[in-house]
Symmetry: C2
Subunit: 472 residues, 2 copies
């Protein structure tokens, strides 16, 4: 029996058990290994079955624990819709809207759901500071000199070691350090594209990626993206003849929170390698998973050096440090040359601090706490939204990262709602920011990596109320 059907069969068996009440809401599922033995199938088949169930919001994973029958199964709120493929002429992006949202980010008295970073209360600032002082003592020429363009050797070594958490076999030689993940994407893009080329991306997509690609004189195709399983491979196949590169956030992407199943990752890597289309993979959320293990990036299945794997610590440790990296595969030499031309080298200090943090187990320790905090925040947010928002609100079901994507009643224009919410000192990211087309106007992205308290809940209540008012 072909594997595809096998995993669907197992998924259906479990789904039946949930429907019938054999498995109850909140109950823990048997472990992957147990199910594997019961049905005599491979671990991957069980994992795929679980992903299928997750994508239907039937089950959900909890950090360091396992899979549970989902509470949201009985939620009134559906998943957001999958977008349609649009190959029309690209329209003007709402740069003014982006600027407007950015301008409120520094307002300290706001409840700020619009940010794309983790609240500072969740960052190990004291430990990082100790690291700075320690590193400064030992740094060659105190970091005043140029380092090789490829980047600090200690950081590269530790990223390579860290790649073992997802079965990566990178060496220090495979990695180029950058000024954050966005900067890594930038180098990757200018390495594999020429102005006038076309790049396929997810939709909705983080506006920083969208704007950067546009600013390089590249054309964009936004691929339909499932809120749980990521880009549609069928649609990717359709546009293959038109595209010169892909740029995907494969694990807990921003804003949908989708995570491509392993089988999809394999297929995409194989497909793009066969067609000689480079895959730029932004894996900056991969370490913030709610499930039992870190999802592998596409890079784990890259046999031809066709994947440029990008990452950073901006979402987990210190956004302001601007420490990121790219493992550009077969494009490495060209990437190093691009970096050399762009900025010569990166300052060594923060690279050494992060390397030190990783090397002594502090990163792993910090991530364990951070994942739990974020997972709990996610539950708080979802519960509050279910309570306070209109019943026809659709909501994403991220298994990692820290953003929620909401699809509201089609009558709501979140750009207008934004102006109203700002008067109540509430900020969020309107959906229109996340596309080049005129859509997602009834959507919004909420960051749940802020400290959960009564004020936050009150703000969600207010937001829900404002939406209801708009509907009347």
């Amino acid at each position: 029996m072909p594997r595809e059907i096998l995993y669907l069969k197992i998924a259906r068996i479990i789904e039946d058990q949930i429907s019938s009440g054999t498995l109850k809401t909140g109950e823990k599922l048997p472990s992957i290994r147990t199910i594997q033995k019961i049905y005599n199938v491979s671990i991957n088949t069980v994992k795929q079955a679980f992903l299928e169930l997750e994508s239907k919001s039937l089950i959900e994973s909890k950090p360091k624990s396992g899979f549970y029958v989902s509470h949201s199964f009985h939620s009134k709120l559906e998943l957001p819709s999958v977008s349609q493929l649009q190959l029309s002429q690209q329209e003007k992006t709402p740069e003014d809207l982006i600027s407007k949202v950015f301008n409120t980010l520094t307002h300290k008295d706001f409840t700020q759901f619009a940010l794309g970073v983790v609240d500072k209360s969740m960052l190990p600032i004291a430990k990082l500071n100790k690291g700075v002082v320690k590193v400064l003592r030992n740094l060659e020429d105190s970091g005043t000199g140029y380092e090789p363009a490829q980047g600090n050797i200690n950081l590269r070594r530790n990223i390579a070691k860290w790649s073992f958490t997802w079965d990566g076999h990178l060496t220090e030689d495979d990695i180029v350090t950058t000024s954050g993940a966005l900067n890594a994407l930038f180098y990757a893009l200018i390495t594999v594209t020429e102005p006038g080329d076309t790049v396929a991306i997810e939709s909705p997509v983080y506006f920083g990626i969208l704007q950067m690609i546009k600013s390089l004189g590249l054309h964009i195709i936004e691929l339909p993206t499932h809120p749980v399983t990521g880009i549609s491979i069928e649609d990717l196949k359709k546009v293959l003849p038109k595209i010169n590169a892909c740029c995907f956030v494969t694990n807990f992407n921003n804003p949908l929170g989708s995570c491509m199943p392993e089988e999809n990752k394999k297929e995409v890597v194989h497909l793009l390698s066969k067609h000689n289309i480079p895959l730029i993979e932004d894996d900056l959320y991969g370490d913030i998973f709610f499930g039992v293990s870190r999802p592998k990036p596409c890079k784990a299945f890259d046999e031809t050096g066709n994947v440029l794997w990008c990452g950073s610590v901006s979402k987990t440790l210190a956004p302001g440090y601007r420490v990121g990296w790219v493992a550009p595969g077969k494009f490495k030499e060209k990437t190093i040359r691009k970096k050399l031309l762009n900025t010569m080298s990166s300052p060594p200090l923060y690279q050494e601090v992060i390397a030190d943090f990783m090397e002594h187990g502090r990163y792993e320790h910090h991530l364990r706490t951070l994942r739990n905090t974020l997972y709990n925040n996610c539950l708080h947010f979802k519960k509050a939204i279910e309570k306070y928002f209109p019943e026809n609100t659709k909501i994403s079901n991220p298994q990692g990262g820290f953003v929620l994507w909401l699809e509201l009643d089609p009558k709501i224009d979140t750009a207008i709602l934004y102006d109203i919410a700002v008067q109540y000192k509430i900020g969020f990211a309107p959906g229109r920011m996340f596309t080049q087309h005129n859509r997602y106007n009834n959507c919004m992205r909420l960051n749940f990596a802020i400290k959960w308290d009564e004020k936050v809940e009150e703000s969600l209540k207010t937001l829900g109320l404002l939406i209801k008012q708009q509907l009347q």
Copy 2:
């Protein structure tokens, strides 16, 4: 009498006095103010006359002192030639040569004339370290958060204050901080050009600028550049209809060391503003002058916001910090947006350290020492080259910065000479690196910001010997 003729007349009077021996080699010239009074002309006219004399190597300036009848007047070595305008199809740049030279830069046992940075012995490393520790204590969230894309406010404020050293009237609001001057040029270029546009630059030109412009899909016109007075305005006028932007290193450019006279700067600013062609000005060497005062940048004469003035502390304080800036004039908003898309924000720590260093007079103090060291090194180098190199060697006469440009016998190919010199553990930058055309093959750039000692003199002697051997 028109001013142009007036300054030439005064220059000729002084030249006559030098030729006749009335003014002797090494003798100090009357001050600018004295000459101004004697001939009843403006200060600018005297300054222009002095520049004219400097351009003929008849006089030279000394730090904190004034102008002297040049020793090199009686030097056997001539100035390098002015390049010819070439409008032919651009040729392949010698990227392999650049990579080869870069690969030897980390060889610690080399006498390294190829570097573009000041030796660490000339940097105030201990004071900078103190600054880091001090700043770290007071930094908001210890620098883990994002700052506004425009850059750290304290640094911007201090750069604005510092601009008063060249009659600038910048405010903190005019400045965008960057990751070094090269990165500033990058943002300036992507702000004012589109792929396919044409940019006029000096020739020879720093290979980093050349390669960066090329990598952005831009075409390049290399303008003939006088080793003392910089680009030829006549040739600039000729190519005006073909170009979309200019990118000039106006003060002590790399590698020629030329410094545009004030009158030329005014004319260029006026000309480009009239034709609506943005001027990207790289002024990263302006603070390292050997004369009595800092030469003004073109930005000082910019009335329309058409000049994007770039700078950094990479040549004076700490290359590895990657702290630079651009004052983009009327292009500011677009530049900020480009930076936001490229890397979001810059880490605040080193920006605060540099701001603190400037604010408390430590920068000015350091520069005074640095200028004297470099000026003395320049004299040592020129003397040694005159002594050990063939008589038909031509040499630049920089009044600031820290590189010398040598034009050797046309039979010498410095790319071949480089391979031989490397065997003697001597590095330099072959001329071919500094152009997109097949020229300067008999030229080389030497960095004199290395600690002068017997080993360095011995290396120059060896280099001279190797050249003489090649000529036989």
